[in-house]
Point group: D4
Chain length 252, copies 8
């Protein structure tokens, strides 16, 4: 922020900018230079534009997509039901709808992952798949390689152990579970990666729409576990991508 | 119940009992023969008389103990704080106070376990010890052999695997955990014994005094897990003892 | 686990197994011999393969069933709605759909119960029937005899007393109740069997979808009561079967 | 209300009251005659003046008592701890402090109960005694005969049956229980009296300071049960007294 | 209970009953004479047979009604939706369906109220009407006169004051409110009748399906208020009828 | 109130009113003059008659509207779904239905705002629009000018800063947010106007239908924030209008 | 904000400010002129500096007070216990401690209220006094006149009616209640002022530390009621003062 | 894991290890080579041994510390009250107790941070300091540089903006807030670092011991925010350290 502010002031002082031109570029917060820098950075890092689809009509979705793909290489929309997804896909040829994750994705060119190490996505049961795939698609759209470790719930813990070395090769783990949500604790006791835990609303009775696994994960006795909202696969992938980028930046 | 009722009626019919004598023995529910039978059974099976100590004064405790040990071979009291426990122990020499489990126990003679297979008691961390020991002392007082597997929480899951064969030799398992309470799910995925899960109020923040592990255990994805109240080591041991007795009776 | 590990090592030492063969059989957890043993045991004991039907399509159900009945004598599916159940039944002739319990069951041959004593299933009202029947069908599929004591709620407590002797002949009791969920406490005060209590979501207003009877059962003043999740008839029957097997094993 | 308003207007019309005198007697609500009538009625029916003691100092209590006993035959204070109670008793000789119910009571003359039938007070366990006695003392202070049926919890249900005829002789029942709070449901299934249920905060863990029995009682499957606040023995007795008075008035 | 037991024993003693006949009449609880007496009493007092309609099919409803009206003068069913109600009314001519209260009622002959004083039913808003009418129809079916005071919520409190004298002429009051549920407190501060408060699930947001008015009513600062479950108009009327009968019995 | 009471009494005293005429005009509370005065005031201040549409049929809505527009210049109805709104609009030409806010509004003549300063309405995201527009239409119908500041959520806080001066020109602010509901705290830290905060039920998972933003707003660390019920745009505008009128009255 | 930004730019353009001086005055947010303006306004309006005392030591309190009274005419501290309050009062002579409201107040000179109309403070019972007095002292310190209407709870509603005219003379009302919290609804039905409702944690059992009155107030059926946090007398007074100032500004 | 298993098998095959020696090194999970590797890694990375102090006696603390500092370069203990901390510090000279964070720390040699970029710790108010300092000390003990940004709560948001550039220079942010917990949302809208949010139990009333900020943070509308348990400064720092290490590893 400060740099561009100083530059603007210098330009005003030197007459290169009129006070009124300077005012236009400084007015509000956005134009203090700060957001533009960010804008550039976002582009370079492969961050997609993301649309939250819940409550938007098919027409609105098509309009927004048409608008965004003119300016962005990657556009992602989440929480899109099948009918709406199909309609958008038909209207805009290069957009792909994924039924399981309920996402729409546009990529101008297929990009190579920016990071040398993948994000691992673990889920406890097959019913957690929609959340897991929302995370996977988001993570890939944000420039990460993804490794999937599905159906490794604690009720058959040997399935987890079988893949432990592979899991350990990831830089950060997204661990998704419904029911009682014990998986992040077990994984956290076995590995040294940062873990983003995602409770899902899968379950019945005293699961209370995901409250049970949410509390489980918040109380995890294993260190290195932090938690996002119930069913929030997108948010977990976003956090994991920021974490993976910490590596990227350090490595630059 | 029916047998003794028939016998009483027969006796009245035969004049062996007057209607008024019969009335005395039948009036209310207790004297319908049913409770007495139970009484005998209780004795034979080594079931203790149990006192819930919370809210009783030292004087009351001494009075009740003095009264009960005249008629019973085993008397157990739970939820006794240190001061009260010490005072009772001094007043009645044969009573033993245990500081960790906060129990008082009187046994006329040391008894051999009635069952051929032990009850296994697992707990996640050292802070769960008071609950675990309340369970252990109760189970032993009810005529069971007890095997302890402490500090086998999921944060260091190899400790659990090390003792798995030993755990599998038990007839029924009491699995105790605070924090997020994931242990019963993990154990339930590895063994085929019935599991009584006990959430403890150990933890902080969103643990909400044991609510988090309680919900975890009720939602366990592993089959064969049932749950008792928070911190209720006594209740878990009582259930486990009844289960162990199922084996005993079947084996008779 | 240890036994087979020792045997493998001995075989390697003796050259009977190459290190690479040994590695194959030891890698991961599953192949440490432990799961296979379990597999055999499961078969011998009459344990069914169980499918959780919620969220699976008719096609998936038919596929899974076709696959499983090739290898297993008993296959059970729970939480199947009428339409799906009908379709599976028509596609695979030997599978039976039960509308009340919402289960699908395949049994190669009708089997005699493995246990000498039945599991008793009590429920408070007729609205608890679906949960009770899910428990009954599961318990039978797992090799138990079942005795039903339905509509014995505390609002007309004499109905319970009428059947008390019969109830006492069971080895373990599943007690199901909605509304305020008082039945397990009352039964627990009258019998000496282990009780698995099941709260149901039957009720309205401050029942809060089963929370009220769940809390009631967890706080039961009667000893020997443990609790499973709301509406979880399957889980209760699974626990009860494991308990009944304690008797079986003791009696072997 | 209307009567006295009409009378006032008539008096104004006749010049017996000046408009300003009429205004004084009509302004506000209290002086519309209505409250005074009530005042007389209260006195005649033996209703005590009641002080809620929580948060009042010893000096305040003595002051209030001294003031009230000049004008009232019966004065009751609830929620008084031992020290404060002792102090008030010493300061005002005719006031009696009761340690169990934590009440202070002043009665000018011992009065005969106004009602022909007693209020029955049942409680589940001895730990419910303070609430039960608060109810008992309040009910007596309000002119009712009281019958106590203590320690008749559902864990030993025969104790309840033994006293059933006696219980049925009461006009209205106050049923008090902590833990899971099942007693009102059981009693409600056996009798035809109106029942005021009182949950107590006795219990631990998932009792949640009385929430569990509160929900139990609100969801009671037995008809004729209504509920007051947790530990509110006073409120239950007040309601029961109003109910008993319905009988009195009908019988007048 | 004791009386008939004594009589039976006397009869056995005198040979008037064989032990086996006596056994038949004593076995279980129901036949101890106690329930039959109750049966008679119920009839005499005009108590209806009540069916809880939720979850019962039209065919079941018609079957049950046909069966019950053969033996009873009054049959009531609650929680019946419009379609089902219409169908039953067409199948059984003398049954009347009421759309607002969602009840079905059969009365052999129109009966005069048994009580000299009416039950008052107050509700806060027009949306509370279904609950109020369920209470009104139940109260009338149980032999009470009913006075309705609808739409007297605290937002326009003068409507309440206008009818205060009329309200005070009732023996017992049912006060129904959703939203914040303040009406019972206000009424309780103005009258001396016992009040049964009914929270309704009317409202939105932090009303939480009736939890808000439920808590309001349980915490009422006015004495003499007890509470039934959310939306439970039937239960309130049942309690009020029992209370009105206290007057009846006293007056007999 | 007092004035007209005094006048009535004077008139009676002078014979200008008979006692019975006076009684008619004073009976109940409404006619004590007090409500009429209010009535006049309401009219003068431009307060609309408001109908809560939830649960009312199209016919009822048309009837009520027809009735009210005869006597009132402004009539507002909230919580009207599209179909019903369309029908009313067709039946009564001068009524306007607004789809976003789900309101129906009738205004006899377009009125100039009564207040010199506008009410500001801020909302965090586009999904909060229905609540924001319900507030806006209500505020305008009550005689206020409205300024809208939409989509100024904390995730892009510069959008808020851009409009800060404009926001500060309002007399009172309605700040609406779902998700985590942080906006009122941020706004409250920047301005000196009274803020009415409205939590919305927008969000998922641990949002718990608006509970999360509700708690956020109640705990706001910024002073000057008070809160209305979840999604209650109408209530917020009503409060804001009363506040704006404080200025009006002071300025008169 | 924009004004001063424009002025700064103009000054730079004109050479009156060097770019570096301009940078210093613009960097960060505080120095954009905006906060300073606010600072002046605060002073002129008589707003106190407020210290939240919870968790601060006596030494810290004395230090902060000493520091603040040098620069401000009015300094207020809330949530100060008796011992700490006494100590500060002794250390700094002009500071006054108030035991009921638990506040410390320093005023350089006694000021006349800035507003022509008072803030009314109503509370339901005497136990709400500490919250009411915290509100009263805050409101006065912020330059308002205060009228107290204490102990006007709905259990004796005539006390409220007696003072209605006086209540209506206030510009804004703070209405405080514990227990069930019905008072704001009742008041809101009678007056046309904006109401700030304050739930208090006074009560027991299902009051749940103020949750019950909080929900009551949020669901108030009376319009014009907004709510602050439990026991937050300070926050209510702050909101009320901002509202009263709306009048002041309009009137200027 | 597989590598060392293969090596062990090879050694057995070659007779370099006896089966029994091999068994000893393979038995359980720990000795499968996996934990040892981890052990080394832990050391190299500067990870401390951490003791949870709650519930441990002074003697136990001294014993554990004495034992651990023989083998480890860094030993950390959390949740230590002042008295216990003082005692340990006196018993073991090189251990430092920090009163604010309630931690004990032993470091053999002062170490340079392993990472090139610091962890930023932001907190909203001074009452959040204990949690912030627990995080800071943990992060430093785990080999990170720490930058503190305290007292930057949203009520005075300019304080946050002033330090934004500095905040953006950190690799990962820990954002701590009590009350309504809005800070992480605001920060998350301004920066691109991964954020670990920590709710604190600071607040009163409807804060419900940290539940309010916990829900706020889980529902954050800003992406990149994940949450740990209430008051869990240690857990946040542990997660942040793992994240910072992602950078380290990538950069190696």
């Amino acid at each position: 922020m400060d740099v561009s502010l100083k530059q603007v002031l210098q330009a005003v002082s030197e007459g290169a900018l009129s006070p009124s031109e300077a005012y236009d570029s400084l007015k509000g917060y956005e134009d203090l230079g700060y957001v533009k820098i960010d804008h550039h950075r976002t582009k370079r890092k492969g961050f997609p534009e993301v649309i939250y689809g819940e409550g938007k009509t098919t027409e609105q979705m098509i309009g927004i997509f048409t608008h965004l793909i003119e300016k962005h290489d990657t556009v992602l929309a989440t929480r899109i039901d099948g009918e709406k997804g199909q309609a958008v896909m038909e209207a805009i040829p290069d957009v792909r709808y994924d039924l399981v994750s309920r996402t729409l994705l546009y990529r101008k060119t297929e990009q190579k992952p920016l990071h040398s190490r993948p994000i691992g996505i673990l889920c406890a049961g097959t019913t957690d798949l929609p959340v897991a795939e929302e995370a996977a698609i988001t993570a890939r759209a944000m420039g990460n390689e993804v490794k999937r470790f599905y159906d490794v719930g604690v009720a058959g813990i040997h399935r987890l152990f079988d893949q432990l070395e592979d899991i350990k090769s990831c830089s950060v783990l997204i661990v998704i579970a419904g029911m009682e949500g014990a998986l992040p604790s077990v994984v956290g006791g076995l590995v040294n990666q940062p873990i983003i835990a995602v409770p899902t609303s899968v379950g019945y009775g005293a699961n209370f729409q995901g409250l049970a696994p949410l509390l489980t994960m918040l109380n995890s006795c294993a260190s290195g576990v932090s938690v996002v909202n119930i069913d929030n696969g997108f948010g977990a992938a976003y956090s994991a991508s920021l974490i993976n980028r910490v590596g990227l930046e350090e490595g630059e």
